[in-house]
Symmetry: C2
Subunit: 372 residues, 2 copies
């Protein structure tokens, strides 16, 4: 169903910013406004008037019904989407010389479509829609928190499965298969990032995935899960050692755990993103790991796995203030020590009043539970 | 491992086209040249000299080792990728006024990164790399066919699981969960498009996904699977009815099956993509479904689910000639009849000499086998 309240808020901000329309090309903002996903999410929210969904002939009746409105205009032809959009833009120009069209500038926007749109449509100036959407999406409403809470529970089910599955001789991909299946069975709708099962030397990687590497005794294994529920994400990361941890592995783990706790303690309305980093870095330094600190321990999360503020992408975001209703993770970068590997713990929090409430819940222990 | 032969071919074509370098921002071409995937695939292939991989500090040693070369340059800082790339470009400029940089213009290229790159780098003119890469990637070598053959087998395992799972009362998402798990267990590395389980009215959709809709007796169910194996895709689609088919459902199914067969018969070196469409459309028309024909029954497939030629995206591709070594699917659009639903059959073929060899293999029957 169209969320008219959110559309109204976006339109108010578009008018303030002098933006004539928002051209939606990504899943996240499509879900934000229309409450459901589509394979090719394309829509136009004009600053004035009704939203326009661009879809295909065979889906017209269904889109009208599921969005619950009659005044959503729908286009038909395959591969003609861009031409249809251009036609709408022409109808909007009136006596203006150019139209200011907002587009999301993030990882999911296809450069291909944006380029076609710009070439076919010389009457538009394209600008980043962030000044409109960041403010809206940064603060989650109750309905959004409920979906993220469910995503967080699904992440917990995935991690429980990982713990039961991990053993010497199994491959990372075999673990990932069980984890994905368990999260799917628990009602999850896929993952926002591939399930990371980073073991051994790969545990030290900043990014990851699961590979055909066999997990061996002594390996550190970093498991990072970002399941989606109705589009919304939660992020849960844990690190385990296969067998008995070495003193060095344990020291790194305890350092990360303390750094994460210091970050959580700093996660209060009025503080800035960089304060969370400062608190965590202090612990690294006190424990002799200062040189390994990678800035950007916290980022916002919601319909995107990583959204504004996201200091590892836009360093300027570290100046953004924490506020009531935000949802952020703490534990984004790995503590990677050459020769030993990496450890990481990440959880998702909801700022509710003056308190940071955890949405994810899973014990943070380096050793696998006995009998697992 | 770096594929030096492919890099040499790309460099030869870049020189012919006057392109100074190819900036890789997508998984498919990264895998094509480097033989493995990365979470953030970023590299530069200059027209002259050695390829440059842009990665992160903690991954440097591993990248050097896994790519098997020392002369791949590697950069360190997080979030500074673009700046690093710009620096490389500056070093390449020599006495030129501008550099011509090729970038892939397809769905996977993030507009966000391309925009940052263009703003930070006024000395470059960005152009579509398609004239270099399409010719290379359109014709598959033996190694690529072997990977696609494996992907096709994994798709077959997925479809077999779907057949065993389908029954009245199960949700589309429950079916998708079992199919994805089976394909993962069989060695698949995720899917290139979400598993479609489109049932009932949703079977008529041009696109799809799996939803929480309960599958009911009488429903047509379109299952579309595009698993990946080491980056390579195969596409297999089948339609089943839950229970006994109606005469209308059976008529649509037989029409689609004949149309696909006519398309396959037209799939010969020297013919054009549009000849496949013409052959299939003729069958629709003879069977009274002419008005429902959606053009673009065939598209190329490989490291991307849909790659050049892809007439539903670029209608001009319908003039491209079929040639030895190409891999294409036949059965892309659904036959959608309002009030009844949709049917579709899609298979993947390898043009080998004068013959179109099927890579996918699964019986095309509308009724579920007894005892399934």
């Amino acid at each position: 169903m169209v969320n008219r309240k959110r559309i109204q808020k976006a339109q108010d901000r578009m008018k303030q910013q002098g933006i004539d329309a928002y051209l939606i090309l990504t899943h996240d903002d499509y879900i934000y406004f229309f409450g459901e996903d589509r394979y090719q999410p394309r829509a136009i929210i004009p600053a004035h008037g009704v939203p326009i969904v661009v879809t295909f002939a065979g889906e017209e009746a269904e889109v009208k019904e599921s969005l619950g409105v009659e005044d959503v205009r729908i286009f038909g032809s395959v591969g003609q989407q861009i031409k249809d959009v251009v036609q709408v833009m022409r109808g909007m120009i009136g006596d203006k010389e150019k139209l200011k069209i907002g587009v999301q500038m993030w990882f999911g926007t296809p450069a291909f479509l944006l380029n076609m749109f710009q070439r076919a449509n010389p009457i538009v100036d394209v600008m980043d829609i962030a000044p409109v959407m960041d403010v809206l999406r940064m603060v989650k409403d109750h309905a959004e928190i409920a979906l993220m809470q469910r995503a967080a529970e699904i992440a917990g089910i995935g991690m429980e499965t990982a713990v039961k599955t991990l053993r010497p001789g199994i491959t990372e991909n075999e673990v990932a298969a069980e984890v994905e299946y368990a999260m799917r069975k628990a009602g999850g709708h896929g993952v926002a990032t591939p399930v990371f099962v980073n073991s051994g030397v790969r545990s030290g990687w900043l990014h990851g995935t699961a590979s055909d590497k066999v997990i061996e005794t002594g390996d550190l294994v970093v498991l990072d899960l970002v399941p989606r529920y109705k589009g919304y994400c939660a992020n849960l990361c844990r690190t385990f050692v296969i067998g008995t941890p070495t003193a060095k592995q344990m020291d790194m783990f305890e350092t990360y755990k303390s750094a994460q706790a210091a970050g959580i303690a700093a996660l209060r309305p009025g503080r800035k993103m960089r304060d969370i980093d400062a608190a965590a870095k202090k612990v690294y330094t006190e424990n002799g790991y200062g040189e390994f600190y990678v800035a950007g321990i916290s980022h916002s999360i919601g319909l995107s796995f990583e959204e504004t503020p996201a200091p590892t992408i836009h360093p300027g975001d570290s100046g953004i203030q924490i506020s009531d209703g935000m949802t952020v993770t703490i534990g984004h970068p790995v503590l990677s020590v050459p020769g030993t590997g990496g450890v990481r713990l990440e959880d998702t929090f909801h700022i509710s009043g003056s308190v940071a409430k955890p949405l994810t819940a899973f014990p943070a222990e380096l050793e696998l539970p006995l009998g697992s």
